[in-house]
């Protein structure tokens, strides 16, 4: 068999590609609008990145192990609705304070874990395609939140919202909580992916699940864990999201799943699994959010075209990925 040496240069191109794109975006932004690199704007961009970013870190593991989860946006909306309902219900008995917020957070986390567990069990135990399962649960959660809100909006009690708001707007040393949590999730995710047996197993399963099975890897359990982890991270994102607006409706979390998946792919994780990197996902998220931000700050292109530009970038990212593989 011939030994065509895999060119290391091309691998590097796919590594620095997204970073290069991000750097170009930042430079272009700074040139177009002097406020772009201001502290306020950077804080704003990072905080807005946090929701999608936290979810996208979880999505990186799911995709790396050869799976997919389309339900995260609806799941976020449902969990937000559930959390608000529970907190409003408990308000008369518990009153405004830390305990009720903790209970709300617990509900969000638990709901996320259960939702992830349901997706994961259907996929791993019943062997149904992840695409089908999560397409189904996407519809179910979206419909459930609409039903809970009776077609309208679920709002957190005003006093409670004011009390809870610092979780989104507050922080330490000028860094807001969503950014801190996002950073922690990224650091832990990167470590988990890069240097633990779990991360290695995810890549192995996504690369070839038969090989993983024959290598005594507990394929079902690892896969299940990726969905549970993603569910839990959706819960975390909701905990950060609810204090921002204090409400949930059928429009909450709309298309988050697409943005999360797009961020993962732009970051260089292979859509068919087998290879994933968390830091790349962060770059992907930043690219997506920065484009929206730039369009808002400048008036060269209408912000309404945000989706079109994001879409073009997603396709471009995949073309570049493909290009670096064709060199085999």
């Amino acid at each position: 068999m011939s030994t065509a040496a895999a060119s290391p240069r091309k691998v590097q191109m796919s590594v620095i590609g997204p970073v290069l794109a991000l750097v170009i975006l930042v430079i272009a932004g700074a040139l177009m609008n002097p406020n772009f690199l201001g502290l306020d704007n950077i804080t704003n961009v990072l905080a807005r990145s946090a929701f999608i970013g936290i979810i996208a870190v979880g999505m990186t593991f799911v995709i790396t192990s050869g799976g997919l989860d389309l339900s995260v946006g609806s799941m976020a909306a449902f969990i937000a609705g559930l959390m608000i309902l529970v907190m409003n219900k408990l308000l008369p008995s518990m009153g405004v304070g830390v305990p009720i917020v903790l209970v709300g957070m617990g509900v969000a986390l638990l709901a996320g874990i259960v939702a992830g567990l349901i997706n994961g069990l259907l996929i791993t135990r019943l062997g149904i395609e992840a695409f089908i399962v999560t397409l189904g649960s996407m519809g179910i959660y979206r419909s459930l939140v609409t039903w809970l809100a009776d077609g309208g909006t679920l709002s957190l009690d005003f006093g409670l919202r004011t009390f809870y708001q610092p979780v989104y707007y507050g922080g330490i040393f000028g860094v807001t909580w969503p950014i801190i949590v996002f950073a922690l999730v990224v650091i832990m995710g990167e470590m988990l992916m890069r240097s633990t047996a779990f991360g290695r197993h995810c890549a192995a399963i996504g690369s070839n699940d038969q090989v993983a099975k024959y290598s005594s890897v507990r394929v079902g359990r690892v896969r299940l864990l990726t969905y549970v982890m993603l569910g839990a991270l959706v819960g975390v994102a909701v905990i950060m999201y609810v204090p921002r607006l204090g409400s949930a409706s059928s429009a909450t979390g709309l298309l988050w799943e697409l943005e999360a998946i797009a961020a993962v792919i732009i970051g260089g994780t292979a859509l068919k699994g087998g290879f994933g990197r968390v830091w790349g996902t962060v770059v992907g998220v930043l690219i997506l959010v920065l484009i929206g931000n730039l369009l808002n700050l400048t008036d060269y292109v209408s912000p309404y075209l945000n989706g079109a530009i994001q879409g073009a970038i997603i396709v471009l990212a995949v073309v570049l990925q493909r290009g670096s593989k064709a060199g085999q």
Partner: protein
């Protein structure tokens, strides 16, 4: 045998080929004459595959000429080579799994009547082609339902359907049983008689001896011997391939079996095997022979927890229940798959990730210890003589090196009972000899070994004791003196043997 040497139809003249800075073929010259069978042999990594790909127009040479009917040609694509009458059958099948047999045979050149497909004609022609190959598979079945040997026959039928002047086959018999191989040989003879030039590679030197008129032997990307096949015997071929004296292929059976470490009784794998009972001693190599489809692989996958199975299993006298293969591994029992490319190794990953995958917990203290992994890889490369760059993905390694890596990967878990399924499928004779040494060495260390093999010589040469399987049951056991080819064939085919009791009962009921 072939007639007088005629003008070659397709030949290579001083062909070299480089991948990046590495030259893998150095000045190859080779000529295929009509009506002659040409065998190309060499160790894995000698450059046979690349040579064939250049002949078939899959890759252009970096320098030198491909000559068709004496004139230099440059194939724009493999489609062009195919139109000019050159067909290549790959080792890995090139079939659309979801399409039917007939759809595959005519894929890309479907017969039409007006705007629509002429299915009846395609079906009839497919049937006729397969009948020529004595392949009885229905033409409307999807490829994914077929056994490997039937897939091979479909590949050959496809090549036959295209007025082929030159047929190139990459290890056509690697996945075939003896009976199927002899059918293939007949077909090759028929093609030869019809004036087709045939080139094939094989690691089975007896086949080469049997059918080849011309012979080219490659080593390290260069031709080291070429001439009429009749001038070299099998031993001479092996020596030319390996480039050194070949001592005994099989190591001495000097094991001294110890206590019974594995005791299986009444193992049943639903749909594949029934009532399998045997024992295995420490330091012993137990061979498992039988035809493809006799349930050998499934039996041991069932034993190792890779398939649902029932039955009583004792390891070192202790009754155990194995439902998953990680439970088997914890008990020191490991099954090494026959299918290294789709079940054994992650072809897109490097050596290190592959080596440690099964024993990853040994390198994990919360976080993975990459340095320890690298050290383990150093050791594996040394102990198992794995050649090839550490930088490339495992898919780029030769078959022999892949198999050695798979071996090293398994041994990292230090199993005491090792089931090795087809230890030398598709690897060259030099590496085979090394594998046999490894296996015997493991037995000498006191490990208990099961070797499943379709190669009769391998079972005979390697095993201390042989179980022959037939139709999901153990047909018989052979020990030292009674292990002969004849005895194995008799048991495997069920010749000269009373009907199994269960079957007789069914018949009377």
């Amino acid at each position: 045998m072939g007639g007088a040497v005629t003008e070659p139809v397709l030949s290579l003249s001083g062909v070299s080929r480089s991948f990046g800075p590495i030259e893998v073929l150095h000045g190859i010259s080779l000529a295929l004459a009509p009506g002659r069978v040409h065998a190309l042999i060499g160790e894995n990594g000698a450059g046979k595959s690349t040579t064939m790909k250049i002949l078939a127009g899959y890759q252009p040479p970096s320098s030198g000429d491909v000559l068709l009917d004496g004139r230099p040609v440059a194939f724009a694509s493999m489609g062009e080579a195919e139109r000019l009458g050159i067909s290549m059958i790959h080792q890995e099948f090139n079939l659309a799994e979801q399409l039917t047999v007939e759809e595959n045979i005519f894929l890309g050149r479907e017969l039409k009547r007006g705007l629509f497909l002429d299915k009846a004609a395609m079906r009839a022609q497919s049937r006729a082609l397969l009948d020529r190959l004595q392949c009885r598979v229905a033409t409307d079945r999807p490829i994914s339902d077929l056994s490997n040997s039937d897939k091979q026959m479909v590949e050959i039928a496809r090549a036959l359907s295209r007025e082929t002047r030159v047929l190139i086959m990459d290890e056509p018999t690697a996945v075939l049983t003896r009976a199927e191989t002899s059918i293939l040989m007949e077909q090759v003879r028929a093609l030869r008689a019809a004036g087709t030039a045939v080139l094939f590679t094989s690691h089975k030197l007896d086949e080469v001896k049997e059918i080849a008129d011309d012979l080219t032997i490659m080593r390290d990307g260069a031709v080291v011997w070429s001439g009429p096949a009749s001038e070299l015997d099998e031993h001479g071929m092996a020596e030319a391939m390996v480039g050194r004296e070949m001592s005994q292929l099989y190591p001495a059976k000097d094991g001294s079996p110890g206590e019974v470490v594995l005791d299986v009784s009444g193992l049943t794998v639903p749909g594949y095997a029934e009532d399998i009972s045997f024992t295995l001693r420490a330091g012993e190599i137990l061979g498992i022979a039988g035809l493809i489809g006799s349930g050998r692989t499934e039996t041991f996958e069932g034993l190792a927890g890779l398939r649902p199975a029932s039955g009583a299993v004792r390891i070192k006298g202790r009754p155990v229940t194995i439902r998953h293969n990680w439970e088997a591994l914890d008990l020191g029992l490991c099954y090494l798959t026959e299918d290294r490319k789709t079940r054994g190794l992650l072809l897109q990953k490097g050596m290190r990730e592959n080596l440690t995958l099964q024993a990853l917990h040994r390198f994990s203290h919360g976080l993975l210890d990459t340095r320890a992994e690298e050290a383990a890889l150093d050791r594996a490369i040394r102990d198992f003589d794995i050649r090839g760059s550490r930088e490339v993905t495992v898919g780029h390694l030769s078959g022999g090196n892949q198999q050695k890596l798979l071996f090293a990967k398994t041994m990292l878990s230090d199993p005491q009972i090792i089931v090795i399924d087809e230890p030398t499928r598709g690897i060259d004779i030099g590496t085979k000899q090394q594998m046999y040494e490894f296996i015997r060495g493991l037995a000498r260390e006191g490990r208990a070994i099961v070797v499943i093999s379709s190669e009769m010589q391998e079972v005979i040469g390697l095993a201390d004791r042989v179980l022959v399987m037939r139709q999901g049951r153990i047909a018989g056991e052979l020990t030292t003196d009674t292990i002969t080819e004849d005895a194995i064939v008799r048991l495997a085919m069920g010749v000269g043997e009373p009907k199994p009791v269960a079957l007789a009962k069914e018949l009377t009921e």
